[in-house]
Symmetry: C2
Subunit: 461 residues, 2 copies
């Protein structure tokens, strides 16, 4: 029976992976004319995966295996698999197939429209898409009624057990301290980051970012780096976890830190035991834990002084003209400049969380219907155009709204905790980083996170 | 009912297209580690497409529509659709799903192994794959018993109505004249093609090939060019028909002519009415007609004197050092050099057909069991290693054996006929080509071939 369960779950995973390849393709190489059929193809794959995920025979199999699983050690792979399969089944059975197909087709065409609307600063085109996305997001939540907040079902999908209320509590606490800290820093003279805004050849930036990702431990035999509009990572299987980036000629940080971020996600996935491939255990345990890995490599490691003691001389050799007269200290301050800014993904470590809280708040209000998509919220800072405002992120134009952004802030919190735990076990890590060695940290993270997976799907907190 | 039929066929087409994207990915960007899961993903998509293609409800729908279709004009889209759907259903219903899944998984891993075995000149690794491919090919044929020849079901899939016997007849006739012609030419001093064997920067070759494909009318808004091991074209939808090529630093013809070849395939697909997208009518009518288009652009146009009157000065500007002292006449003779050679895809127009006949013969003998995969046939010419011999082509390592290669020779015959018909209607075409204009030929071919589609699936000849 367990063999049959694994076989069924593998088929669902494989169908989803085929759909993920369609998404990767849309965001990297697909010619413009492919958009229409892409949406259809994506929708039918999602629907088929969903149909298989809710087959009564699967439910019966899980029912019959539940007792068996309860007698196994709680953290064993098989017990965890049965538990996670049960949780997923109980969720998915509530969602009608036709909703899945409609939503997928909509997200595909919305993303396609966004890739043109953003450069064109054309929010008018996107407003009806966003409206429909909100309706689909509410419709999704309705299948999980009763809930306390309309965003709760989305939040639970990303970070199991959390709710709008618990996140608001967490954010409230964090905000008090962050705002005070940001204010104190902003009263000081700002760091000078003009050195990052010179002209840097795109190909050389791309190559350097890839070189750094490889040094950290991102395995290119099981991955690759490509260009896209909005960077992401995607797992097609244990042996194929891809990352993407974007390169700005006048912003040295863009390609570099987005690549480190996505490499963090990908190294997490590459670290998961290959034996779990094709099963729901063979992927990140939650969006927050996932973001903890991306933010850890991007910020905690990637903006640290030691890291650049090793890499900065190498970067200077590549961009000699631009950086030879910029000392390490100045560069290190530049990449850590704290400032109010418009673009979330480019924000510094400190204000980033404030971006998230603001967006989370906007999302809840939009879902509740208190804020309409054409309303202009007064945030005390107004973008000069929508490219840097409501069009900045792919998130609102490629999937449900209400349960994704909070994971970044949760990830930031966890990243600091993971890093502190790693240093406590292996104080040498600091020294290693400064000599371009990342093996101890990489291995410790992989080993520690491998365990979080099989502990997932604990009874709701 | 017709609406439901179209909906069902669209879903099958879309599932197949998602599988085709997996194949494109495997042959272009997939990292090495992705091979295992790719095979699983490909196999499940093929099985699902097959299951849908043989659903009893689809058969009943086609049965109920057949009378209606017979009362429509024979060449109308709807009548053709019902007829083609009926033909496909009657074929597919004979093939068990598990065969489809086994065969797909095998072809995926066989192709993966070939991409490493060919550079390593390692036929020993491939021999068991080839053996299994032959078994699967025979198994496939067995579902269509009784047949006259074990290759007939495969040939019929590619070029409906043709058989091993009819092709052997055709080839026998052609061979007599080709061999005499080849012999007569080979008695003359051979053309000097050393100018093509200099060193040519790969990126510049790629860009030039893409530029030429675009000039011929290949629409990059609905396509793209990428690198691969063995060039192919693939249609993901009417709006997304991609081509691939390979570039050899020491062979100027490789990237150029393989790109023209694949662009020929792709322009045929791009020329098909977008209204037929997602239906079995929305693709080439037969492998032979498909090859007629690739070979027409590659050879009949692409190796003609007029074509190079326009393009050669442009090519000379790009490779000034290598070509400035090579006159047009010498270049034109070099790209049309006739010689005995080892690699089919690089062969000249004349001996190419002899390659095909030889392979076709070997395939029939292997299928019949008269020749084993480890036998060495005495062909009067022996490759120095297997890279240039039995490992040269992806065909034997990526799909059924016995029904694909003949289409190239059929295509060569048809390409001459199509071109003669086009010139008869529009004698200006010759002059246009010499001035870099391809619109008349391109438009005439698209208009003429659009018609062949809806006439497909005539009663067996």
């Amino acid at each position: 029976m367990l063999v049959e369960l694994k076989q069924r779950l593998r088929e669902i995973t494989d169908l989803n992976a085929a759909g993920d390849l369609l998404n990767w393709d849309q965001a990297t190489y697909m010619p413009q004319g492919g958009a229409g059929a892409h949406g259809r193809q994506r929708a039918i794959l999602n629907r088929l995966a969903h149909e298989r995920a809710v087959e009564p025979a699967l439910g019966e199999l899980i029912d019959r295996l539940t007792r068996y699983g309860e007698n196994l050690p709680y953290d064993s792979d098989d017990a965890s698999l049965i538990r996670v399969a049960r949780r997923d089944f109980q969720k998915k059975i509530k969602i009608p197939s036709d909703h899945v197909e409609r939503a997928t087709a909509h997200f595909s065409s919305s993303y396609d429209a966004w890739t043109r609307a953003r450069p064109g600063n054309d929010f008018a085109t996107m407003a009806p898409y966003l409206e429909r996305t909100l309706n689909l997001s509410r419709e999704y939540s309705s299948y999980f009624e009763p809930y306390n907040h309309v965003a709760d079902p989305h939040i639970d999908d990303a970070d199991e057990g959390m709710t709008a209320a618990s996140i608001s509590g967490l954010f409230g606490e964090l905000k008090l301290q962050l705002v005070a800290l940001a204010r104190a820093i902003c009263e000081q003279p700002a760091a000078d980051d003009a050195s990052l805004r010179q002209t840097f050849a795109k190909a050389a930036q791309f190559d350097f970012a890839l070189h750094v990702a490889k040094s950290l431990g991102y395995d290119l035999k099981r991955g690759r780096l490509d260009l896209t509009h909005h960077p992401f990572s995607t797992r097609l299987s244990a042996g194929d976890v891809r990352i993407t980036t974007r390169v700005s000629e006048n912003d040295l940080g863009d390609a570099l830190f987005s690549t480190l971020h996505e490499a963090g996600h990908a190294m997490y996935e590459q670290g998961i035991s290959a034996e779990l491939d094709g099963s729901p255990l063979g992927q990140g345990v939650s969006a927050g834990v996932h973001e903890s890995q991306s933010r850890l490599w991007e910020n905690v490691v990637g903006r640290s002084r030691g890291f650049w003691e090793y890499f900065y001389p190498r970067l200077q050799r590549i961009f000699e003209e631009q950086l030879s007269r910029v000392p390490l200290g100045a560069f290190h301050r530049a990449i850590n400049k704290v400032a109010r800014s418009l673009i979330r993904t480019d924000a510094d470590e400190l204000t980033y969380n404030l971006h998230i809280m603001l967006r989370f708040d906007l999302e809840l209000k939009m879902l509740e219907g208190q804020l309409r998509v054409t309303d202009r919220a007064d945030l005390g800072i107004a973008p000069s155009d929508d490219r840097d405002g409501c069009l900045q992120d792919a998130h609102w134009y490629s999937g449900y709204i209400g349960g994704r952004l909070q994971s970044y802030a949760i990830g930031n919190i966890l990243s600091a905790q993971f890093y502190a735990a790693a240093l406590k076990m292996h104080p040498d890590i600091l020294h290693e980083i400064a000599t371009g060695e990342f093996g101890t940290l990489h291995t410790w993270l992989a080993a520690s996170l491998r365990r979080t997976i099989s502990s997932s799907a604990r009874p709701a907190r």
